[in-house]
């Protein structure tokens, strides 16, 4: 997996330009969380904090929130205090625009940026347990709150690019995200229900992974599924896709940490 990953499906897109140009988003009233498509047992597992394995990461994140890091021994809590108060609703507004890099940044990226710049701590690798735990802990504070994408107009071109990527055919199978998640969400793929791709429960615990994982991990799974080379973790295109997906899910309640089959 090299830098070539950025070029996923570009050739295919050129050949099939506009292949799903007519695809419409899911009707606002017809929007359903991925949890709605699950078996009752899996829904019960998510609903009960004592049986939701994602809570193990939330618990670990709570510990890390208060743990000093870096040369000055500052913890997240040193500046941000009680996360239940200061982080409430924050995850529902991400990805947000980052002034330093002039680009959108996702929640995990912001946490790592804060760690490096403010705490002077070594970076946390994407998809590492500590970063997932902190992200899950922060996002958990927004559980039940509606997804509220920021109105910042500087995000618009990135969001538009995310929308374009969502409708661009990818990989050897030449499938766009929209082919399944906008047009065929009431169908099944193999034995599994196709869902509407609303990222309201991330980071979430997938029984298939037997671990907590990020939206980027899920997006990379789907890319491998259509036989495209997955974009690398932290790729700008993945964050742009997340921007579009959160816009699609605006107003739906956050569920972090979710459980999915």
């Amino acid at each position: 997996m090299t830098r070539g990953g950025r070029a996923v499906g570009v050739t295919a897109a050129a050949l099939l330009a506009g292949g799903v140009a007519g695809a419409a988003d899911v009707e606002p009233d017809a929007r359903r969380s991925g949890a709605d498509f699950m078996a009752p047992e899996t829904r019960a597992m998510q609903a009960d904090d004592a049986s939701n394995p994602g809570m193990l990461w939330v618990l670990e994140g709570e510990r890390l929130w208060a743990e000093p890091a870096g040369p000055e021994g500052r913890a997240c809590a040193t500046c941000h205090g009680d996360a239940a108060r200061t982080m409430r609703g924050v995850a529902a507004r991400y990805p947000a625009f980052d002034n330093g890099s002039d680009r959108p940044v996702d929640l995990a990226g912001r946490i790592d940026q804060c760690r490096q710049a403010r705490q002077g701590a070594p970076p946390l690798a994407r998809e590492s347990d500590p970063l997932l735990a902190l992200t899950a802990y922060v996002a958990h504070q927004s559980r039940g709150m509606p997804v509220a994408p920021p109105g910042d107009t500087r995000l618009d071109p990135f969001r538009e690019n995310g929308r374009r990527l969502f409708q661009q055919p990818l990989g050897q199978l030449g499938l766009a995200c929209a082919n399944c998640h906008d047009e065929r969400w009431d169908g099944r793929l193999g034995g599994a229900p196709i869902t509407q791709a609303h990222p309201t429960a991330y980071p979430l615990y997938r029984l298939e992974w037997q671990a907590l994982g990020s939206l980027q991990r899920r997006l990379r799974n789907c890319m491998a599924g259509v036989r495209a080379e997955p974009l690398p973790f932290g790729a700008p295109e993945l964050i742009e896709l997340e921007l579009h997906l959160m816009q699609r899910a605006a107003g739906m309640p956050m569920e972090t940490p979710g459980v999915r089959p």
Partner: protein, 107 residues
């Protein structure tokens, strides 16, 4: 890194049957998988979960490779007196992780 969740009722009546639910973060590596270098990944599972109630063993379970990662185990016991419910998970490396819950039993 200990990450375990124990859920037990805070209070109970004497003789009441209560449910204890316990979950722990553990990879539960089966020993049957092959790593990216072609070598088998060594087995690393929790072998035994023991629950003691005021020092006396009330429940124990032997775990095998077919258990999922982050195993969740629920069982019931009879509440007799106020005290500490302690759970201890021991894995292949001989490491034991513990978690406790306090219960008040009053009629």
């Amino acid at each position: 890194m200990t990450r375990a969740l124990v859920n037990a009722p805070k209070t109970a009546r004497p003789g009441e049957v209560i449910e204890i639910r316990a979950m722990i973060a553990h990879p539960m590596e089966t020993g049957y998988r092959i790593g990216p270098n072609g070598a088998p990944i060594p087995r690393h599972i929790i072998r035994r979960l023991v629950c003691t109630y005021d020092g006396a063993e009330v429940f124990a379970a032997d775990l095998y490779p077919a258990m999922s990662a982050n195993p969740y185990i629920a069982f019931s016991m009879v509440a007799t007196a106020s005290g500490t419910i302690a759970l201890a998970w021991t894995d292949d490396h001989g490491a034991t992780q513990t978690a406790t819950a306090e219960i008040t039993v009053a009629g």
